[in-house]
């Protein structure tokens, strides 16, 4: 939109507004309320509800302000008898066939139609005819549908298409018989539930939350999602110590994600109150024995003693400390402090799928925020599958292309769904991502790279061309397929390609909600696998906050047995707790205060929605108490803000940060990651070249686009606790399984095939 200012008059008052700005936005911005249902910012215009009518001088009839762009000298009236009559008329039309039993509707209290009706008041019941009837139904285990309440604003069909690229829900029928639905009534999609979120009425509803509480009975707490690294802002709705639902409705929260959430963020929360939560500290008094409930005092003492013993016997490095990238910055910082200052061991690290160290250590450009992605001119995506692993990033890329006309280049071994939006899809051989990184970073490696990746050198040239010729922002996003050296080189791309009028912004795609924070807190020291490998050699005791990822643990189970002492902080029993001598119950993200740092580098608040269940405690509290027991007072005296204050002092990128500064989720604060500046990459280059040379000749390429949800629906330690996810685990259930309510469906078949936890869950 141009920045040229023009003059318009609204209700007699003169204003200067940017040329071509949308009238409805301008009016609202200037404080003139305009009712609307179908208008939704950044979605295709609909102009069908006809609520936003205004009078514009020199124009026949009333005009829909959602379709009007401001022109110089425009004279607008937003309030008059004529306009009010029309708008009342539209509301009356919408109510005609709409049930008036708000008290039984789950949306009651949050319904835009209900609010509109109250606002107008005195809509005397002129409609005395029979209302059209349509039966309630379930479109999926997640989505309930009451067609009668639909006002056909089509926000749902538009978000499904424009945000998700899934196009699973559409309008069928014609005229007064138009219904939102799908063929055979089954919603074949990633079950994100965004259609539910944007629905202004009670037409599309959260099937997992039906008839449970009234919205106004819920305490709303703004917090950050604890699944992927996008860090969506959400509102946790709790009542009586139970987390009832998670939404992103803009009446409660306005974060980087708007009203967007993915299936996990929105529907996987029931793990929080699940009965399988570890309730008390547990001690296994002798190897192979059972875990027996214990008091916190005993447990902490027991742990402290045993860590001491091992340290005395083998030296400090014998004590290994591991933290999950799911934990808060506060928890990870405290662990790091515990490892370095108190124990003084070399052996500490995270359980993350891959390390961000090589990337951040070589960083030469800013991280791209999700907003940067939406407005980028060019986007290069190497590896990764954001639509499944970082769904918000996926949406931003899709909208950048569809609404912003961005040029999208995708380099991937798999024809991922996002490539539908790509102007250039470079289909490489499996496992050859590094080759492309090499070609982009080095000189004259195209031959080799092309050969190993099974692509032509022209394709590599095209990518380089796109970067070199791009105007405006270029976002380079890449997944975990890249090796350390390749990631280091990615971090150097800005130095290579940035130019006047062209910023190169980087967007790594780590898998966990706090992968970035784990690096920032200095926990990213040793790799989980190295750690496991040194068990029995250098490491004899492990203190694990969280659990090892199955793909890391796989094949090392028995090595855990070799440990003389293993203490694990967990929500649920896991492969790792099996071998633990002590298991300590921790509080979930819904029960703690703290911060996560997302892949934008935004440090965002996690807020306590319910108090810790049973005897659970926040990870960092446990660590601090352990330190206490070992004779060191971290001085946090049970306040997470104290921990964060210390982070603000000790962690450079977080200098000066305090909770109050992070208060407003609408204006998140970015960590100031140090820029390495263009450095000599010859070392990484030659190593990378060697490893690329080692790559086997490209075999067959993968031609099948993965099913929607193939990652999102995988059963992990948390989603395992949510029956609906088991229904989805084998792909979306077939139509015949959805005729009945999910309440019946979710009697889970015990011997159902389950995939074990995957990174990204």
């Amino acid at each position: 939109m141009s920045t040229e200012l023009i003059n318009i008059t609204i209700n007699g008052k003169p204003f200067e507004v940017p040329k071509n700005s949308r009238l409805i936005d301008v009016c609202r911005d200037k404080g003139f309320d305009i009712p609307s249902f179908c208008y939704y910012s950044d979605l295709a215009l609909q102009a069908s509800c006809r609520m936003c009518l205004v009078r514009i001088e020199k124009m026949p009839k009333l005009q829909t302000s959602c379709t009007i762009t401001c022109t110089d000298g425009m004279v607008v009236t937003t309030q008059s008898e004529e306009i009010e009559k029309a708008q009342r008329g539209m509301t009356e039309f919408l109510l005609a066939n709409h049930p008036l039993d708000c008290p039984v509707c789950d949306r009651g209290g949050e319904c835009e139609l209900q609010e509109m009706t109250f606002e107008w008041g005195g809509l005397e019941e002129r409609f005395t005819e029979q209302k059209n009837y349509a039966a309630e139904r379930y479109l999926s285990p997640m989505v309930a549908n009451d067609p009668q309440r639909c006002i056909l604003c089509k926000r749902c069909t538009r978000v499904c298409d424009e945000w998700m690229g899934e196009d699973a829900i559409e309008a069928g029928g014609r005229g007064a018989h138009t219904v939102i639905g799908t063929y055979l009534g089954w919603l074949d999609c990633s079950q994100c539930g965004n259609c539910i979120e944007v629905c202004p009425t009670g037409t599309l509803l959260d099937a997992t939350y039906r008839h449970q509480t009234r919205p106004w009975e819920l305490a709303q707490t703004i917090s950050t999602c604890n699944f992927c690294s996008d860090g969506c802002q959400m509102s946790l709705g709790s009542r009586g110590g139970v987390l009832m639902r998670v939404v992103a409705r803009d009446r409660y929260v306005n974060g980087i994600n708007g009203e967007f959430l993915c299936v996990k963020g929105r529907f996987a929360h029931p793990f929080v109150n699940h009965e399988d939560r570890i309730k008390t500290p547990l001690i296994r008094y002798k190897k192979g024995g059972k875990l027996i409930p214990a008091t916190w005092d005993d447990a902490i003492k027991h742990v402290a003693q045993n860590l001491d013993v091992v340290a005395d016997k083998y030296g400090r490095d014998a004590v290994g400390i591991v933290g999950s990238p799911r934990l808060t910055n506060e928890a990870l910082y405290t662990l790091q402090k515990f490892a370095t200052e108190l124990v003084g061991t070399e052996n500490y690290g995270t359980t993350d799928a891959y390390s961000l160290k090589p990337f951040f250590d070589n960083l030469t450009g800013q991280l791209a925020t999700h907003k940067d992605i939406r407005y980028a001119g060019t986007i290069l995506l190497i590896g990764g599958e954001p639509e499944e692993l970082q769904p918000l990033t996926g949406r931003q890329i899709r909208q950048a292309v569809r609404n912003g006309g961005a040029k999208l280049i995708i380099v991937n071994a798999v024809p991922i769904r996002l490539r539908e939006q790509a102007s250039l899809f470079v289909h490489i051989a499996p496992g050859s991502e590094d080759a492309v990184a090499l070609a982009l970073s080095g000189e004259g490696d195209d031959e080799l790279a092309g050969k190993k990746a099974g692509i032509s050198t022209q394709q590599l040239d095209a990518i380089r061309q796109a970067l070199n010729s791009a105007q405006g922002d270029v976002v380079v996003a890449f997944g975990g397929e890249l090796s350390d050296d390749a990631q280091a080189l990615m971090a150097q791309l800005p130095a290579r390609f940035a130019a006047d009028g062209r910023r190169i912004l980087l967007h790594p795609l780590p898998l966990f909600n706090n992968s970035v924070g784990a690096y920032d807190m200095g926990m990213d020291n040793r790799r989980p696998v190295d750690m496991l490998n040194s068990i029995g050699e250098t490491v004899h005791a492990l203190y694990v906050a969280g659990s090892f990822l199955p793909e890391h643990l796989h094949g090392h189970e028995e090595t855990l047995e070799k440990l003389e002492f293993l203490v694990v902080q967990e929500l649920f029993e896991s492969e790792t707790t099996k071998y633990a001598d002590v298991v300590l119950p921790v509080a979930s993200y819904a029960e703690v205060d703290g911060t996560f740092t997302n892949n934008d580098g935004f440090v965002q608040r996690v807020r306590q929605s319910i108090s810790p269940l049973n005897q659970a405690k926040p990870d960092w509290v446990i660590t601090a108490q352990l330190a206490q027991e070992l004779g060191v007072d971290f001085g946090f005296n049970l306040s997470s803000s104290a921990v964060f204050r210390e982070i603000g002092e000790k962690v450079k990128a977080y200098n000066g940060m305090r909770y109050p500064l992070l208060k407003d989720e609408q204006h998140p604060i970015q960590a100031k990651h140090a820029l390495a500046g263009s450095s000599d990459t010859s070392g990484q280059l030659s190593r990378l070249r060697e490893s690329v040379e080692q790559l086997s000749e490209p075999g067959d390429k993968i031609n099948k686009t993965p099913e929607v949800g193939h990652e999102l629906f995988k059963i992990g330690n948390l989603t395992d606790k949510v029956p609906q996810f088991h229904l989805l685990a084998g792909g979306n259930p077939r139509p015949d399984t959805t005729r009945i309510s999910p309440l019946y469906q979710i009697t889970v078949d015990a011997n159902m095939e389950r995939e074990t936890m995957v990174a990204g869950d």
């Binding site: 295709a44 069909t157 538009r158 298409d161 424009e162 196009d167 699973a168 829900i169 559409e170 309008a171 069928g172 029928g173 014609r174 639905g181 799908t182 063929y183 055979l184 074949d188 569809r402 024809p415 769904r417 490539r419 539908e420 939006q421 686009t705 099913e707 929607v708 077939r734 139509p735 015949d736």
Partner: protein, 176 residues
């Protein structure tokens, strides 16, 4: 599918309805190819193709819908949204002979009501119903562009105009 055409991209996943897609003779496939050849954008052929599937299978049954989705690389729901918009596309079975009596003004004032009534009595079904043997479906439809030759009905695609009860008997009688 939202409105701006430039946004349309071919579907990436194959659809699985738990049924096999319909198959057609080489001849019919050739006919379908001829229609597809008319348009720069495949999706434009959706209505002509629906008529063909309907002709071959009686109505748009799931295998037919799946065929169309695969042939036009659209989602089944895209087929559904279009099929249910147009009154001539049947998503449920209709009789071998679909008698469509025009009920709109010019026909109405020229006695369309009597014609419907006559068919109704003769076939023993009300408008909207199909005879038990599945041979006749009776419908009242909106203006068919025969106002000058009212009253009239269309049986499948054939126009029968200036109708009288006698003429109706003749026509229905002549139907094998």
């Amino acid at each position: 599918m939202s409105t701006t055409l430039t946004q349309i991209k071919p579907l990436s996943q194959p659809v699985d309805l738990g049924v096999e897609a319909a198959t057609f003779s080489a001849q019919v496939e050739a006919e379908i190819d001829r229609h597809l050849a008319k348009y720069p954008v495949m999706r434009s052929a959706i209505l002509p193709l629906m008529f063909i599937v309907q002709r071959e299978r009686g109505y748009l049954d799931p295998p037919g819908v799946l065929y169309l989705a695969n042939r036009l690389s659209l989602r089944v729901t895209d087929i559904w949204e279009v099929a249910t918009f147009y009154s001539m596309i049947n998503t449920s079975p209709v009789g071998k002979y679909h008698i469509q009596v025009c009920k709109t003004l010019s026909c109405k004032i020229r006695g369309a009501g009597k014609i419907t009534e006559h068919c109704s009595n003769k076939l023993g079904i009300k408008p909207g119903e199909t005879t038990a043997d599945g041979r006749f479906t009776l419908s009242e439809v909106e203006c068919l562009g025969s106002c000058g030759t009212a009253p009239m009905f269309q049986i499948n695609f054939d126009y029968h105009e200036d109708l009288t009860p006698e003429k109706v008997d003749q026509i229905l009688g002549s139907l094998a």
